[in-house]
Symmetry: C2
Subunit: 395 residues, 2 copies
């Protein structure tokens, strides 16, 4: 092969999490490294039944080409549900169905960011989004996350220093990886700053329906009178990630650009997947299903948190999340975080080193991420004990 790859490929690597997940092919390894929904969270019987009905009643719609914007009944249902249950969507907004939230995030970056433009994000942030942004050669600039969300002073300072900032990427609910929820006060401050500095907000809310404690906080999009918020949702955590169905609610002029890009990316998202999501929301007890998911994750998070409180060296600290799938643990200064994670996997417990979630190579962290949604109850109990023993022997 004589040809060379495009320069955008230089900064890209396969996700560090994928490398760690290779260890988890060993069936003896307990994985706290994934971000998968609990297997028991899938409504298998309902999906089987409604899929059979779709293929009986509307087989050609399911198998033929669809429009890029998405399956019209699903778009309408989502618009109405977002408005009714969450107060989202103004007259200037429109909605497109995407191939998972990941595609909504990628295309938002593609339509707004030139190479070299600054993209502001939380530090730490979701590795999948960060890699997607990197593929557009943006200047990633992370702003520290505190227990109640992004540091507002640091955010304004970053905006001052980066007049070419185009987008701010945030996960306000049960952030991945920190588990932190941004306070309403901070959401308002973030919105005001973005209006002031002319920065669009990319609000990613994959876990919002998985709140198992505390009170719901209005999304930033619900404050959006100016049309500067791009709101990303997903069926991955509330129904199935394998179907690859997400969506983007944003000003129509943004959606039009995203449609043009999506045409060139995958034409449209899988029709059968979209129709399954529509039927599941429309024809089953979707709200009841969400309640059952919250119960599953409330239980699993408690198992992990109670175990950590009992066994973990208290020098390792963490915030208790109010929802979502993750716990973010901080090692004391001076402890070698990478070595701790490597020791954990050698002891048959896989965790993700926090470095995977750093916007820049030069950003440092003492943290690692734990997931409680994927392991079984037995694995949760056993894995936490192992981590606890390790924490006492290594610290």
């Amino acid at each position: 092969m004589n040809a060379s790859f495009a320069s955008r490929m230089n900064g890209l690597q396969a996700s560090a999490i994928r490398e760690i997940l290779k260890f988890t092919a060993d069936p003896e390894v307990i994985s706290f490294a994934a971000g998968n929904p609990a297997p028991e969270a899938f409504p298998v019987d309902a999906v089987s039944e409604l899929t059979a009905k779709i293929l009986k009643d509307q087989p050609i719609t399911a198998l033929q080409y669809g429009v890029t914007e998405g399956y019209a009944p699903l778009r309408e249902l989502l618009k109405s549900d977002l408005k009714t249950r969450h107060g989202l969507g103004e007259s200037f907004d429109d909605l497109i169905i995407t191939s998972g939230a990941q595609q909504a995030i990628e295309l938002s970056c593609k339509v707004f960011c030139n190479p070299g433009d600054t993209l502001l994000c939380e530090n730490p942030s979701f590795i999948g989004s960060l890699n997607s942004f990197r593929s557009y050669e943006v200047n990633l600039c992370g702003v520290p996350v505190e227990s109640d969300g992004i540091n507002i002073d640091a955010l304004e300072e970053a905006m001052r220093q980066n007049p070419n900032a185009k987008l701010l990427y945030v996960i306000p609910n049960f952030q991945n990886p920190s588990g932190v929820t941004m306070s309403l006060e901070k959401r308002k401050a973030v919105y005001a700053l973005c209006v002031k500095y002319g920065v669009m907000i990319l609000e990613d809310n994959p876990y919002g329906e998985l709140r198992f404690a505390g009170e719901e906080v209005p999304s930033i999009k619900s404050l959006d009178t100016e049309g500067i918020v791009l709101y990303v949702g997903s069926f991955s955590k509330v129904l199935s990630p394998g179907l690859r169905v997400g969506y983007l609610l944003a000003p129509s002029e943004v959606i039009q650009k995203v449609v043009v890009c999506k045409q060139g990316s995958d034409v449209h998202s899988a029709m059968l997947s979209q129709m399954i999501c529509h039927s599941f929301m429309n024809d089953t007890d979707f709200i009841g299903h969400l309640a059952s998911l919250r119960a599953i994750y409330r239980h699993k998070s408690s198992l992990m948190i109670d175990g950590l409180r009992q066994y973990l060296n208290p020098a390792i600290t963490f915030d208790e999340p109010e929802g979502g799938l993750f716990l973010w643990c901080k090692l004391p200064d001076g402890v070698d975080m990478s070595a701790f994670c490597l020791n954990a996997v050698k002891n048959k417990v896989a965790v993700v080193p926090g470095s995977a979630f750093m916007p820049r190579d030069t950003d440092k962290t003492q943290c690692f991420r734990l997931n409680y949604s994927t392991p079984t109850d037995e694995q949760l109990k056993k894995g936490v004990k192992i981590l606890g023993e390790l924490s006492h022997s290594l610290l």
Copy 2:
């Protein structure tokens, strides 16, 4: 909204075909403008049965996250089928499942082309691919297509004049839109030129299994001893486009880069779609199904061609395709092609103006594209008569 879009958006427009398809919302309009498989080509009963079995036997695999490379049994089956039936795939090659051929095409461009790099293609070429390439701000350079494929002298001249040419995009079988099949001699010449000038070949073969006349011609990938050919296939025309399943067979080092980009694009393709494709190839009479598709398109193409021979002003010329979905008609010089197409749709027959398939705005054409796969037999007969009357009144 204060923020401006990225400069890559400047050259992008929604597909011209989509604009024409809006006319076809009028139920009285006969559409020869689409590129959809015939509705009767979908094996609805088989898909219903095997989908039920997948959701009964492997529901969690279908609903949970999968790996970016694709559903392993489908990857293995495709590799083996491509080798056995078509002689494709060397030890240096690997295969990734993509969200339709469109994604394989986009990601191939993304991993190889910097803005300003030249991407060589046939003139005319498939609008969906051209728009995807445009989104990476490449210098699109079209090389004329003749009755036996791309003009070799013009291709070499283009390579001489564009030392920054990275990729050559070709559809050797029943090209979209021209319907032309590239001869074996030209395939060999194209391959030799690309070796000589260090250009990678992106070989798109969505219609290869839909040959209804003549003899199969070996693909360019089957000649690939040097590892310079990226071969794109799809289930869209042989099973269902709504499932959005395609694939890329290419040197492993290319596949590795595509995997990294796909992670950031949509994580992986829909699992249920992939499993349906696998089961359909593995558990049903796939070869028999392909034969039935060829019979459908042989019949439909004959209906259109016979009608055109009977009714069309012979000043309008076309080559008879040996497969695929399209006919490419050429108006005599001096006739206003756009006006002809507009008149057609006013007379309730939609065709696609050839300008939609030009690599550059400055490229001119006297041609328009007809599709015979989507209309019914009745629509084919009636629409061709209308076009015929129009051709006599306007020319």
